[in-house]
C-alpha cells in the first residue's frame, strides 16, 4: 500500500482536487433527500403550489449539479489513475529490465510478467477507486452519524453503540479474508500450472498412460482451490447481511424507543422518519467501506508484489577503484581462480544423496588477448555458459577475480563493460521486429556495417532470398524462422557492432558443417582485432582456436591448443575421436 501512497504523492494536487470535487458531489448528493424531505414535510403541508414547484426545480437543479460534479470527479480520478499507473508500470519495467541475473532467477520470468500485467492493473483500479469510493463511504458514514446526533443525541446513541461493532466486523472480515484470498490465488496458480504442464507434455503423459494419474492430480488441485475459494467466499459473505441485520435491528429499536419518547412528549414523530433516512445513509456508507476493503485487499497484495521488485536492492554495486581487485598479470580477458555457485544451497545432506554440493565453477583460470581466440568445450551443464555470465557480470563470482582490459569487472559502469562485448547466447532472443532492427538492435549502425555482419554470419543467403530482405518482419521469438536462420541472425547481431570481445555461445549447433566452417573463416578473417570466445559442442568448431578450455563438472580439466590437448587431455581426445564422422543430419 505504501507503494500506492508514494506513487500518488507525485500528484498530490490533482488527487486533492479530485477528492475535493468528490466531496462537493457527495455533499450535493446528500442534499437531495434533504430537499425531498423538505418538500414533503415542510412545503406540502403549507399548501403553496408555487413553493412546491420552486423546491421541485431546486431539486432538479441540484441533481444536475450533482451529476456534473460526479462526472468531473470521476474523470479526474481516471486521469490521476492514468498518470499513476503509467509511472508505476514504467518504474517496474525499468527495474525489471535492469535486474541482475540472480534477482531475475529469484523472481522467475512468469512471475515478473504477471507483476507487470495483472498486478499493475489492480493497482490502477485501486488508485481510481481510492479517490472516489473512499470519499463517499466515510462521508455517508460520518454525515449520517452527525446528522442523527444533531437531530436527537439520545436516540442516536443506539447508532453510536452499533457503529464500532460494525466497523470491527468489517475489519475482522478483511483481516481474515485477505490471507484467504491470497491462498485462493496461489491455488488457482497451481491449477493453471498443472493444466499448462499437461498441455505441453501431453505426448509423454499419454505415452506413459498417466492420464488417470494426471486427472487425479488436477482434481486434487481443483478441489483444494474450490474449497479455499468457498471458504473465502463464505467469510466475505458475512459482513453485508450482518450489517443489515444490526442496522435494521437498531432501527426497530429506534422506532420503539422513539415512539416511547413521543408518547412522553419528548420527541416529534418526524424525527423517527428522518432516522430512517440516516440509517439508510449509514448502511450505504458501511457497504461502501466493506467494498473499499475488498478492493484494497486485492490491491495491497498486488502493490506488495510490485514493491518487492522495485525494492530489490541493487545487488551489484559498481566498486570504486580502491575496493576493486587488480589482476595478477597481463591479459585482455582474465579469469583468476574463479569460484561460483548459483543461488543459495540447502544444508540438507539428504538432498544430495549423502554427498556434498558441487560448485558451478571451481578454480577456473585463463587469459585471452586481443586477436586471440578461446574455445570452451565440455559436457552439458559443465559451466560453459557460466563463464560468459560472469564475464558480462550477470552474476558476481563468489571467489577469485574476473578482469576485462586490466580492470575488475565490478569496477565498470554496467553499460561501459557490456559495450565491449558482442554476444550471441545459446538461447538468444529474436524480437518481433524487422530483421534489420534485430541485427541493429538500437545501436544505429551504418548500413554497410549491417550488411557485412549479415554476410559474415552467413545469413545473407537466406535474407536475400526473402522478398523484402532485411525489412522482413520476424514473428514473436522468431517463430517464422528456422533454428539455423535464427542462429545466424543472432550471430549477425553480435558481429555488427565490431565488438572488442566476441562471444558465441553454442551459436552454430543448428548449422551444417559447411556453413559453420564458413562462419568461422569469416570471423577469423574480418574480426582479427577482437578477442573471440567460442563455446561449442563440436571439437571441429574449436580446434582452430588459440586456446581451448576443457570443462567438466565446473572444473577445468585441460587448457591448451588442439595439439597439446590431444596429447595431454584424455577426455578431449576421446571426444575428438568419437566425433569424427558420426553425425547424419
Amino acid at each position: 500500500m505504501s507503494l500506492i501512497g508514494r506513487a500518488m504523492g507525485r500528484y498530490k494536487g490533482a488527487v486533492a482536487l479530485c477528492v475535493f470535487i468528490k466531496l462537493l458531489a457527495t455533499f450535493s448528493e446528500l442534499l437531495l433527500p434533504y430537499i425531498l424531505e423538505h418538500i414533503i414535510d415542510g412545503v406540502a403541508p403549507m399548501g403553496s403550489l408555487p413553493l412546491a414547484l420552486f423546491w421541485g426545480a431546486v431539486m432538479f437543479a441540484a441533481a444536475l449539479v450533482c451529476r456534473q460534479l460526479n462526472v468531473w470527479a470521476n474523470r479526474r480520478g481516471v486521469q490521476n489513475a492514468h498518470n499513476v499507473s503509467y509511472d508505476v508500470r514504467q518504474a517496474l519495467f525499468q527495474k525489471t529490465v535492469n535486474l541482475s541475473g540472480e534477482q531475475f532467477d529469484a523472481f522467475g520470468l512468469p512471475s515478473l510478467i504477471s507483476r507487470m500485467t495483472s498486478d499493475s492493473y489492480n493497482v490502477q483500479s485501486a488508485v481510481q477507486q481510492l479517490q472516489t469510493l473512499c470519499v463517499r463511504a466515510p462521508m455517508l458514514l460520518v454525515g449520517g452519524t452527525v446528522m442523527a446526533l444533531i437531530m436527537d443525541p439520545s436516540l442516536a446513541m443506539i447508532l453510536v453503540a452499533l457503529l464500532p461493532v460494525l466497523i470491527l466486523v468489517v475489519l475482522a472480515v478483511y483481516l481474515r479474508g485477505l490471507p484467504m484470498y491470497r491462498q485462493v490465488q496461489g491455488r488457482l496458480d497451481e491449477v493453471v500450472r498443472i493444466m499448462r504442464e499437461n498441455i505441453t507434455g501431453i505426448r509423454v503423459v499419454k505415452a506413459l498412460s498417466k492420464t488417470e494419474h494426471e486427472k487425479r492430480r488436477f482434481a486434487q488441485a481443483n478441489d483444494a482451490m474450490t474449497d479455499s475459494d468457498i471458504a473465502a467466499g463464505t467469510v466475505m459473505a458475512v459482513p453485508s447481511p450482518l450489517m443489515q441485520l444490526c442496522l435494521n435491528g437498531g432501527l426497530a429499536l429506534v422506532v420503539f424507543t422513539g415512539a416511547g419518547r413521543v408518547n412522553a412528549g419528548a420527541l416529534e414523530p418526524g424525527v423517527i422518519l428522518a432516522f430512517l433516512t440516516y440509517f439508510n445513509m449509514i448502511n450505504m456508507g458501511l457497504m461502501g467501506l466493506s467494498r473499499i476493503f475488498m478492493t484494497m485487499s486485492r490491491a495491497a497484495a498486488s502493490a506488495g508484489r510490485i514493491g518487492q521488485v522495485l525494492q530489490a536492492e541493487e545487488s551489484q554495486r559498481v566498486l570504486p577503484p580502491q575496493e576493486a581487485k587488480s589482476p595478477a598479470g597481463p591479459g585482455f580477458l582474465r579469469f583468476e581462480h574463479v569460484d561460483f555457485s548459483y543461488g543459495e544451497g540447502s544444508a540438507d545432506a539428504a538432498d544430495f544423496a549423502g554427498e556434498a554440493r558441487e560448485k558451478a565453477l571451481s578454480d577456473v583460470s585463463f587469459t585471452l588477448d586481443r586477436g586471440e581466440s578461446l574455445g570452451i568445450i565440455g559436457p552439458t551443464g559443465c559451466g560453459k555458459s557460466t563463464i560468459i555470465n560472469l564475464l558480462l557480470r550477470f552474476y558476481d563470482a563468489d571467489g577469485g577475480g574476473v578482469f576485462v582490459d586490466g580492470r575488475d569487472v565490478r569496477a565498470y559502469e554496467k553499460d561501459e563493460l557490456r559495450r565491449k562485448f558482442g554476444v550471441c547466447f545459446q538461447s538468444g532472443m529474436v524480437f518481433q521486429d524487422t530483421l534489420r532492427a534485430n541485427v541493429d538492435f538500437g545501436r544505429e549502425l551504418e548500413e554497410a556495417a549491417l550488411r557485412s555482419a549479415v554476410e559474415d554470419a552467413q545469413a545473407a543467403e537466406y535474407i536475400d532470398a526473402l522478398e523484402d530482405g532485411l525489412d522482413h518482419r520476424a514473428d514473436i521469438k522468431g517463430a517464422n524462422l528456422s533454428g539455423g536462420q535464427k542462429q545466424r541472425l543472432l550471430v549477425a547481431r553480435a558481429l555488427a557492432g565490431k565488438p572488442e570481445v566476441l562471444i558465441l555461445d553454442d551459436s552454430s549447433s543448428a548449422l551444417d558443417y559447411r556453413t559453420d566452417a564458413s562462419l568461422r573463416r569469416a570471423i577469423t578473417r574480418n574480426y582479427r582485432e577482437a578477442a573471440l570466445i567460442l563455446v561449442a559442442q563440436r571439437v571441429s568448431s574449436v580446434m582452430g582456436m588459440t586456446r581451448i578450455l576443457v570443462l567438466d563438472n565446473g572444473k577445468c580439466v585441460g587448457c591448451g591448443t588442439h595439439e597439446e590437448l590431444l596429447e595431454t587431455c584424455a577426455p578431449y581426445r576421446e571426444t575428438y575421436q568419437l566425433q569424427m564422422g558420426d553425425t547424419f543430419s
Binding site: V78, Y86, V191, R203, I476, A510
Partner: protein, 596 residues
C-alpha cells in the same frame, strides 16, 4: 492467460444463447433442489425487506397519531408489536439473504469446479494433434478466465435477476396501491435511463475494445522484453527498450483514460435521471397532498418503494451484458468440450501383457486431414529386439509413424499388429505402457528432480532414481543444484537447460521396463561428450527391445536392421543400409549430400 486487457471489451454475444443456456442448466440440475430452495429463500428475503419499511411506517403512523392527541396517547403495545414484526421481517430478510448468497456462491464454485475438471478430462481424451493446433495460453484461458466468468455470473446474476423481479414487481404493486398518479410521475425516468445506458454502451464499446488492444500490446511487449532481458543487457539497450516501453505504456494509459473517462459518466447520469424521478415524485406528491389525494406518510413510503423499484431497473442493462458475456464464455468452454476425442478402446479390448515386441504394419494408409493421405500403403516388420531407423529431412513426417505406433492416431486403412494381434484389440493404456519413449521435445513438470525421474514408475526408490540418473549421466549436474535431488524444477525453470532436461527424460526412460522403445535421436541439445556417454546408456536401454529410432547418427542407421526413408510425409523407400545404397534412390542421395 487473459491479460487485464480482456476485461473491457467483453461485451460479445453468444452464437447460440439458447443451447448454451440449456447446457448450463444441465450443470445446475445436480443442485436443482438447492437452487429451488435458494430461490424460495431469495423471495422470502425480499418479501421481508419489502415488508420491513411498511411496519416501520405503521409504527411511525401510530406515534404520529398519538402525538397529535398529546403525550401518553401512543399505543405502545401496538408499536412494540410493529417493532417486533419489523425486526422479524428484517431478521428473516438478512438471514435468508446470507443463506442465498452463500448457497449460490457454493453452487457457482462447484459448477466451476465441475467445468474445470470436465475441461481437463476432455484435454486428456483429445488427440495429441489438437495441442499442435491450439495455443496453450488459449486453452488455459478457458479454465482460468471463462470458467470464472460463468461461475461469477451463476453465483450472482441468476439470483439477482430472479430476486430483482420479485422486488420490482412487489415495489410496483405497492406503489400502485399507494398512489397510481405518483407512479406516472416517475414513469418517464425508467425508459430514459435504460435508453441512456444502452446508448453509452454503444459509445464506450469501441473505446473499451481499443483499450483491450492497447493493454494486449503492452503486455506482449513487456513479456517479449522480459524474456529477452539478458540479450538487452548484453547489448546495453536497457535505456532504449525503456523508451520504447514508455510509448506503448503511454498508449495503454491514454486508451484507458479515454474509455474509462467516458464510461465513468454513465453512473452519475443514471443517478441524475433517477434523482429527477425523485424530484418529480416530491413535487407531484406535494401537489397531490394539497389536493387531498395522498397523505404524507404515503408519500414517504412511496419514495422508499420507488428507490427499491428503480435500483434493479437501472442495473438491468449491465446485468444483461454480464449474462451475455457469461454465455459467450461458457459457449467457448462447451466448444472445447465438444471437440472430437481420441480413438477409444474397442469393445472387448484386452490388456497387453508380457509381449515380445513384434511389430508389423500391413497396408497402412493415413492422413491427418480427411482426403489428404500422407502415408500410402506402408508395410514393414520389426522382429523382437530389432532396430528400425526412420530417416528423412526435418518436417518430412517421421513422427507420423510414431503417432500411429503409439496410437495417438489410428490408420485410415490397413493395420498395425503387435505380437501378432491388431493393436486396436489392446487397451490403449496397456499398449502404450509397452513403449518407452525418449522424445526431442523434452518435458518436465513442476516438482522435484526425483519426482520427474520417477514419473514413469510409481513407488521408485531413491536408489533406483540415482542409478537411472547416473546411467543418464545427469547425476553430477543434479549434485550441483541447490537442493540436489529435491530441487524443485519447473517447465519455465531458468536453472535447467534444454540439454539437461533431455538427460532427465532419458533418466526417466531408464526407469521403466518395456519391450519396445521409441527414441528421437536428438543431437542438438546434448553435447557430444555427454552424448557419447548417453549413447552407452541408451545402447543398454535398447538391448532386448524393439526400437524405433528417429535417427540422425550414421552409426545408428548403419547398424539398424531396417531403415524407413521418409519424404514429404510418405515412406518412399525401405530396406537395410546396404540394399538402399544399392538402389541409388532417395536414401543414396541423402547419404551422398551429407557425407559425400
Amino acid at each position: 492467460m487473459p491479460g487485464p486487457g480482456d476485461r473491457g471489451g467483453k461485451k460479445e454475444r453468444p452464437r447460440d444463447a439458447k443451447g448454451t443456456l440449456r447446457r448450463i442448466v444441465q450443470y445446475l440440475t445436480a443442485y436443482r433442489w438447492q437452487v429451488a430452495l435458494f430461490l424460495v429463500c431469495a423471495c422470502l428475503s425480499n418479501v421481508g425487506n419489502l415488508l420491513g419499511p411498511r411496519f416501520a411506517g405503521k409504527a411511525i403512523g401510530l406515534a404520529e397519531k398519538g402525538y397529535q392527541l398529546g403525550p401518553g396517547h401512543v399505543d405502545m403495545d401496538a408499536v412494540a408489536r410493529y417493532a417486533l414484526l419489523m425486526l422479524a421481517c428484517y431478521g428473516v430478510g438478512s438471514v435468508m439473504n446470507f443463506l442465498v448468497n452463500i448457497g449460490m456462491m457454493r453452487v457457482g464454485r462447484r459448477v466451476a469446479r465441475k467445468l474445470r475438471q470436465d475441461v481437463f478430462d476432455k484435454l486428456m481424451a483429445l488427440p495429441v494433434g489438437f495441442f499442435d493446433r491450439h495455443q496453450a495460453g488459449d486453452i488455459i484461458s478457458r479454465v482460468s478466465y471463462d470458467v470464472d466468468v460463468v461461475c461469477t455470473s451463476l453465483s450472482t446474476d441468476v439470483i439477482h435477476i430472479l430476486t430483482s423481479t420479485v422486488t420490482v414487481a412487489g415495489s410496483f404493486v405497492m406503489m400502485c396501491v399507494i398512489s397510481p398518479p405518483l407512479v406516472l410521475c416517475m414513469a418517464a425516468t425508467i425508459p430514459a435511463s435504460i435508453l441512456f445506458t444502452r446508448h453509452m454502451g454503444k459509445r464506450t464499446r469501441p473505446l473499451y475494445a481499443k483499450r483491450s488492444a492497447a493493454y494486449g500490446e503492452m503486455n506482449g511487449f513487456a513479456e517479449e522484453m522480459f524474456t529477452g532481458q539478458r540479450t538487452i543487457l548484453a547489448y546495453a539497450q536497457e535505456g532504449r527498450v525503456c523508451g520504447d516501453f514508455s510509448r506503448v505504456n503511454r498508449a495503454a494509459a491514454e486508451a484507458y483514460r479515454e474509455a474509462d473517462g467516458l464510461g465513468m459518466t454513465t453512473g452519475p447520469t443514471v443517478g441524475m435521471i433517477s434523482n429527477f424521478g425523485l424530484a418529480a415524485i416530491g413535487t407531484g406528491g406535494a401537489v397531490l397532498y394539497m389536493l387531498g389525494v395522498v397523505g404524507l406518510e404515503q408519500i414517504s413510503s412511496f419514495v422508499l418503494y420507488s428507490r427499491k423499484f428503480s435500483g434493479p431497473i437501472n442495473e438491468i442493462s449491465n446485468i444483461i451484458n454480464e449474462i451475455f458475456s457469461a454465455l459467450a464464455a461458457s459457449e467457448r468452454v462447451f466448444r472445447l468440450l465438444d471437440q472430437p476425442e481420441e480413438v477409444k478402446d474397442v469393445y472387448g479390448a484386452v490388456e497387453r501383457r508380457d509381449g515380445s515386441g513384434h511389430v508389423k504394419a500391413e497396408g497402412v494408409s493415413f492422413g491427418y486431414v480427411p482426403g489428404r493421405t500422407v502415408l500410402h500403403h506402408l508395410d514393414f516388420e520389426a522382429k523382437p529386439g530389432q532396430t528400425i531407423a526412420i530417416v528423412g529431412p526435418t518436417g518430412a513426417g517421421k513422427t507420423t509413424i510414431i503417432n500411429l505406433l503409439m496410437r495417438f492416431y489410428d490408420p485410415d486403412q490397413g493395420c498395425i499388429y503387435v505380437d501378432g494381434t491388431e493393436n486396436r484389440a489392446y487397451t490403449m493404456d496397456s499398449l502404450r505402457r509397452g513403449y518407452a519413449m525418449v522424445l526431442q521435445d523434452t518435458w518436465v513438470f513442476r516438482g522435484t528432480i526425483f519426482d520427474n525421474i520417477a514419473y514413469g514408475k510409481e513407488g521408485a526408490t531413491m536408489d533406483e532414481v540415482v542409478r537411472a540418473a547416473k546411467a543418464a549421466r545427469i547425476h553430477g549436474y543434479i549434485m550441483r543444484l541447490p537442493q540436489g535431488y529435491h530441487t524443485v524444477i519447473g517447465e519455465d525453470g531458468g536453472s535447467i537447460s534444454k540439454g539437461q532436461k533431455q538427460l532427465l527424460t532419458i533418466a526417466r526412460a531408464m526407469l521403466y521396463d518395456t519391450d519396445m522403445l521409441i527414441l528421437d535421436e536428438a543431437t542438438s541439445n546434448v553435447d557430444t561428450a555427454t552424448e557419447r556417454q548417453v549413447q552407452k546408456a541408451i545402447r543398454s536401454l535398447m538391448a532386448g527391445k524393439t526400437c524405433f529410432v528417429i535417427a540422425h547418427r550414421l552409426s545408428t542407421i548403419q547398424n539398424a536392421d531396417h531403415i524407413l526413408v521418409v519424404e514429404h510425409g510418405d515412406v518412399v523407400e525401405q530396406g537395410t543400409h546396404r540394399s538402399l545404397m544399392e538402389q541409388k534412390g532417395a536414401y543414396y542421395q541423402m547419404y551422398a549430400s551429407q557425407f559425400g
